[in-house]
Amino acid sequence: MIADTIILVCIAIGLVFNTLGVIGILRFPDVYTRLHAETKTTTFGTIFLSLAVIVYAISRLLSDGDAQFLTLSVHTFVALIALAFTNATGAHAIARAAHRSGQVPSPAVIDRYSEGDA
């Protein structure tokens, strides 16, 4: 069954990227590198976990013809869109707030952002 293979691959990719994001949070030295590691990888991994659920719902819809799997796939897609947009915006807000609260990247020499209008 090819759908099972696609689901397995999507779940594996999602879990690997989420794990990499958490390792990045635990190992990286300051706020900005942690934010960089966390936001991109967990968003990517969660998108792939949602894709696994969508593929599962579509395959069950095609094999069983049950309408609730159509609902499951559409709602999961809405959750995926909401997550992708809000995570990017939230990461931007956190980075801006971290800079405004006085954090600087540890080996930084030049800070163009505070040289501007701030």
């Binding site: 999602g14 958490v22 949070i25 976990l49 959750a79 939230g90 807000a93 956190i94 707030a97 609260s101």
Partner: protein
């Protein structure tokens, strides 16, 4: 087939617990906010997978609402630690 989803959720919960280390031990406030944001994202993923395991579509709706509300919470915390909330 259900075993795969259950295993994925178990891994996600383990990742959430690992992230809580940074949430508790983070040296500065923005570190904790980053960890909280990661926990929110992982929780949404776990809820979507739980919807498949328990065959309850309402869990996905809960995940959507949780994603949007945690976004609002993150924005408010960011405004607060940036000192931009009105005095």
């Amino acid at each position: 087939m259900t075993d795969i989803w259950v295993a994925a959720v178990v891994v996600l919960v383990a990742l959430i617990v690992l992230t809580m280390v940074r949430l508790i031990a983070g040296p500065t406030v923005p570190d904790r906010v980053v960890a909280l944001d990661a926990i929110n994202t992982l929780t949404v993923a776990a809820m979507i997978l739980l919807a498949v395991i328990y065959e309850q579509i309402i869990f996905v709706d809960v995940a959507i609402v949780y994603a949007l509300l945690s976004f609002v919470g993150t924005l408010f915390i960011a405004k607060y630690i940036g000192g931009e909330l009105g005095q």
